[in-house]
């Protein structure tokens, strides 16, 4: 019998005329972090809600440790920790009261509560504010508190829908250290995220698009999906170079990044030729170097190829 | 009216329409409450269960019983039960009152001193007991006048009930219901509408625009005036055609005072929303400060003169007290503007005071 923490088979779900999921298959192994990525509205949240038994699928099935979720709702709920996308706290309770409440709710012994709280304060840096009411926290602090509340108990399987929404980079990296410790202790994590650097930290990722899994696998193996050479045009003015490059390359192949523009060279134009083009039109750039693609390149390429209408084009003026 | 203003009103209307569950409740509530009160109260008061013990058994005593049966206020459930069973009848709620006609009833009719007819009433519901007593004394009076056309007492009091001669309770509760429902809608819904935006964060977006406090306040309130107005018209129409509540006075004055009363409720809701931050608190405060006193202290259920003195004073602050006088006056007595000017004036005063305070207190920052 298959006792993987999560196995999902051919999951389908429609809301009225809109089909949110069109047959999703995937499985998550014990002790791994599985990352869900995909554009807004791709069906990630619907998928997660079905997995944690809050929604029923129209077709297909989810197995939790070998048991069908639909028939074992109580079993599943007692073993899955779920953090919804917009988790609400008790705004009138203080930071510590919220944490304690969730600790008690999950039946965590007081001694363990204390230890966990210390660990969670280190990541969230909320320790200094433990007597502040939750409604006086900043947006990101609220999110971190919500996350901490959920992490007060450590269930076998943890499902989180965009846990790092609005969380600053320092706390994000500390959160991922916590998640790693949890999986090292044998827990399993399913997490959706809009941050591609987080996707890189997962053991495996699935890219969901329009209710289907476009690709899944280890992050590094996904990178092989880009076979054409990839160049980075390093420049302090990425957007201006971007618009210049759009005149010579297809929009699917050009993307702005922090330090420059990434170009997928599908027609073997070559770095020298690109440099020449830019020099001709007097564009400022530091260098053009071939680079290894990252998850973000793959993400952009896959969804643009799958959905040509989503590619950005030269926009009309938005008149005043 | 400025564009800004129109936009706010329109948007508020859209919220109301979109939230169709609440809308349905708002429209159906008055009708349901009317039917509920209407049938619960009228059935009770129409067919009062009574037991009659006739020790006299004379044509006169039969005539009296006849009067009672034909009045259709009473439903005779038992006759000539022995006194030992009275207690059981009451305990098992088989009857609400027992009338005992003494043996010498006919003889004493024209003599002096008279033998009293004994009436036992279950007063565990004092209101109902009151009605029963009133109905019966009225029937008895009619009977006496009929039996004894040439009365030779020096004088006697013959009560005549004015304006509501049949003692119809509809006449009483239809205006009362209007007072409660209008307040519920105007105060509660407005306070929630504003506090909801505070909670959801949409308020922040409005506040960074150059709109004035009064535009937001008044713009948000107008749709609820309309809503409350529609509701009160529903109750009035229903009350008039279904329960046959008369409209003796001017309809214009009636609608005018409805709007005035609505405004008082709205201004109260506004006031609450300026001092509260969450829907929960707003709801509790509004219920405590409006609905409760309206039901308990305005004279809707308990007559003001029978309240402890301190509550009599408090009742004078409550807008519903004055509104009830106005609306009962117009509906039942045909009172005009001149008769009601004090009450109307008080409502104007209260509404303007509350609106002014709310606009002043209304914060255009997030402090």
């Amino acid at each position: 019998m298959n006792t993987k923490p999560l196995v999902v088979e051919n999951l389908k779900k429609s809301f009225g005329k809109v089909s949110a999921l069109r047959g999703v298959d995937l499985s998550v192994d014990r002790g791994e972090i599985f990352g869900l990525i995909g554009p807004d509205g791709a069906g990630k949240t619907t998928f997660i809600r079905i997995v944690v038994s809050l929604l029923n699928a129209d077709e297909g099935a989810v197995y939790f440790q070998g048991k069908p979720v639909r028939e074992n709702i109580a079993y599943v709920r007692s073993r899955i920790g779920y953090m919804p996308q917009r988790f609400s706290l008790y705004p009138d309770l203080t930071v510590e009261e919220n944490l304690r409440f969730f600790g008690d709710l999950f039946g965590v012994p007081l001694k363990i509560q204390k230890e966990r709280m210390e660990r969670l304060y280190r990541f969230s840096r909320l320790g200094a504010f433990k007597d502040r009411r939750a409604d006086a926290l900043s947006g990101g602090m609220k999110q971190k508190l919500a996350l901490s509340c959920m992490l007060m108990h450590e269930p076998e399987v943890i499902v989180m829908d965009e846990p790092t929404y609005g969380v600053d980079p320092v706390s994000r990296s500390e959160l991922w250290e916590i998640l790693r410790t949890l999986t090292d202790e044998g827990r399993t994590i399913l997490v959706s995220t809009a941050y591609m650097d987080e996707a890189q930290l997962c053991d495996r990722v699935g890219l969901i698009f329009k209710g289907e899994v476009l690709a899944q696998g280890k992050p590094d193996s996904l990178l092989n999906l880009i076979t054409d050479p990839l160049y980075m045009v390093k420049t302090p003015q990425p957007h201006r170079v971007y618009f210049e490059l759009l005149k010579h390359f297809e929009a699917v192949d050009c993307n702005i990044f922090g330090n420059g523009v990434h170009v997928i060279d599908r027609h073997s134009v070559g770095a020298e030729q690109i440099a020449k083009i830019l020099k001709q039109s007097n564009f400022d750039f530091d260098e053009i170097t071939p680079i290894r693609p990252g998850i973000e390149d793959v993400f952009l390429k896959l969804i643009r190829t799958a959905n040509p209408s989503a590619k950005p084009e030269q926009r009309g003026e938005l008149s005043a | 009216m400025s564009r800004t203003f129109v936009s706010i009103i329109k948007k508020e209307f859209l919220h109301i329409v979109r939230d169709y569950q609440t809308l349905i409740i708002i429209v159906l509530m008055p009708v349901m409450m009317l039917l509920l009160y209407g049938y619960a109260i009228t059935l009770e008061m129409r067919e009062i269960k009574i037991a009659i013990v006739d020790h006299s058994k004379t044509p006169q005593s039969r005539a009296l019983i006849n009067h009672i049966t034909s009045s259709n206020f009473f439903d005779i459930k038992a006759r000539n039960v022995p006194e030992s069973q009275f207690e059981d009848l009451f305990q098992q709620r088989l009857v609400r009152s027992v009338l005992v006609i003494p043996q010498d009833f006919s003889r004493s009719l024209n003599s002096n001193p008279q033998t009293p007819v004994q009436l036992l009433i279950d007063a565990s519901d004092p209101n109902a007991a009151n009605y029963i007593l009133k109905y019966l004394s009225q029937i008895v009076t009619e009977f006496e006048i009929e039996q004894n056309p040439r009365l030779h007492f020096p004088f006697r009091v013959v009560p005549r009930l004015l304006y509501n001669p049949d003692l119809k309770s509809e006449y009483f509760f239809v205006p009362g219901l209007i007072a409660v429902i209008i307040l519920l809608i105007s105060a509660l819904l407005t306070s929630l509408a504003i506090v909801r935006e505070k909670e959801r964060g949409t308020f922040e977006q409005i506040l960074v625009s150059p709109v004035h406090a009064y535009q937001i306040v008044v713009g948000k309130v107008i749709p609820y005036i309309a809503l409350g107005f529609v509701d009160s018209v529903i109750i009035l129409v229903f009350g008039h055609f279904w329960f046959k509540v008369p409209v003796e006075g001017s309809i214009l004055l009636l609608l005018g005072s409805l709007i005035l009363y609505l405004l008082t409720g709205l201004s109260f809701g506004l006031f609450v929303s300026t001092i509260t931050e969450s829907q929960r608190v707003a709801m509790i405060v509004t219920l405590l400060m409006t609905i409760l006193p309206t039901i308990m202290l305005s004279g809707f259920i308990f007559p003001i003169p029978s309240m402890p003195v301190i509550f009599q004073y408090i009742s004078q602050i409550i807008p519903a007290t004055h509104f009830l006088k106005i609306i009962r006056g117009i509906l039942l007595k045909g009172s005009g503007l001149a008769d009601l000017k004090n009450q109307l004036f008080y409502l104007v005063l209260l509404a303007s005071f509350l609106i002014a305070v709310s606009i002043r207190k209304f914060k255009t920052t997030l402090e």
């Binding site: 990525i37 995909g38 554009p39 807004d40 509205g41 840096r125 006086a136 926290l137 900043s138 947006g139 990101g140 999110q143 965009e162 929404y165 609005g166 969380v167 600053d168 980079p169 320092v170 706390s171 809009a194 941050y195 591609m196 990425p238 702005i256 990044f257 922090g258 330090n259 973000e296 993400f299 952009l300 643009r304 989503a310 950005p312 009309g316 938005l318 005043a320 | 564009r3 800004t4 129109v6 936009s7 706010i8 329109k10 948007k11 859209l14 919220h15 979109r18 939230d19 959801r200 964060g201 949409t202 922040e204 977006q205 506040l207 960074v208 625009s209 150059p210 255009t364 920052t365 402090e367």
Partner: protein
């Protein structure tokens, strides 16, 4: 050119306390007209509080700030005419349709019926939402909602735009589309003041400040900061700056 014309925003020793707690602590900076200014910082550093003070939503406890040449203490009403603001929480009405939202915000900024009609047509075409004009906003994907929120904040053609975490939770593709909008605004001479937790977006700004516990600990162009911290990316600049500060 005097300082008023050169700078869209000038803040000096701006401070805001909540009770005994100082959320924003003597913050000074100025933003040139037409600049894209990135406002970075750890959670709870005081970014939203600073923005709210500049939008006239919160009064500073002390210090001074001029926004579009107007004083935040005394001229909040004038400031509101000249700024657009997108708050950290999505603040369009989710129960209204796309078109109704646009009409409402056009209305409260006093646009004429004709202007609103023209604007909404343009906006819908621009956001490629023509066929979803009558969709209830709640049903749109987040990236689109955010672009829509930005567009409605621009209806009255403000000179300065404050964006508080406009791309949080937005996917990589939609984020790029959002930034193309920001570039376009800057190209038209608007000043954009934006907070973000995506460090690649920080690199798109002309200058960034990094806030920590109510104070600005760095303020420079991304290039200079990367040189200063000997880093390849703003991500590591941020981690180093905040890390150094808190250790």
């Amino acid at each position: 050119m005097n300082a008023n014309e050169k700078y869209a925003v000038v803040a000096k020793d701006l401070t805001r306390k909540f009770g005994a707690f100082t959320a924003v602590d003597h913050v000074s900076f100025s933003v040139s007209r037409g600049e894209i200014f990135g406002f970075l910082g750890a959670n709870g550093a005081g970014k939203t509080t600073t923005i709210r003070m500049m939008c006239g939503l919160l009064l500073p406890t002390s210090g001074s700030a001029l926004v579009a040449g107007f004083d935040v203490f005394t001229q909040a009403e004038q400031i509101k005419q000249h700024i657009g603001y997108m708050s950290q929480r999505f603040s369009l009405y989710e129960d209204l349709t796309v078109l109704e939202n646009i009409e409402f915000y056009g209305g409260i900024y006093g646009l004429s019926r004709k202007q609103i009609r023209r604007k909404s047509r343009e906006l819908l075409a621009y956001l490629k939402l023509e066929d979803r004009a009558n969709t209830v906003t709640a049903e749109l994907p987040l990236g689109l909602k955010q672009r829509m929120a930005l567009s409605t904040a621009l209806l009255h053609d403000p000179e300065i735009i404050f964006l508080d975490e406009p791309t949080s939770g937005v996917d990589p593709d939609s984020r790029r589309q959002f930034w193309l909008l920001i570039y376009e605004l800057a190209a038209r001479g608007k000043t954009v003041f934006v907070t973000t937790h995506f460090m690649d977006e920080a690199e798109y700004c002309q200058r960034v400040s990094i806030m920590q516990e109510g104070r600005i600990i760095e303020l420079d162009s991304p290039q200079n900061l990367k040189e200063k911290y000997k880093s390849e990316s703003m991500q590591s600049v941020f981690l180093k700056a905040i890390g150094e500060e808190s250790s």
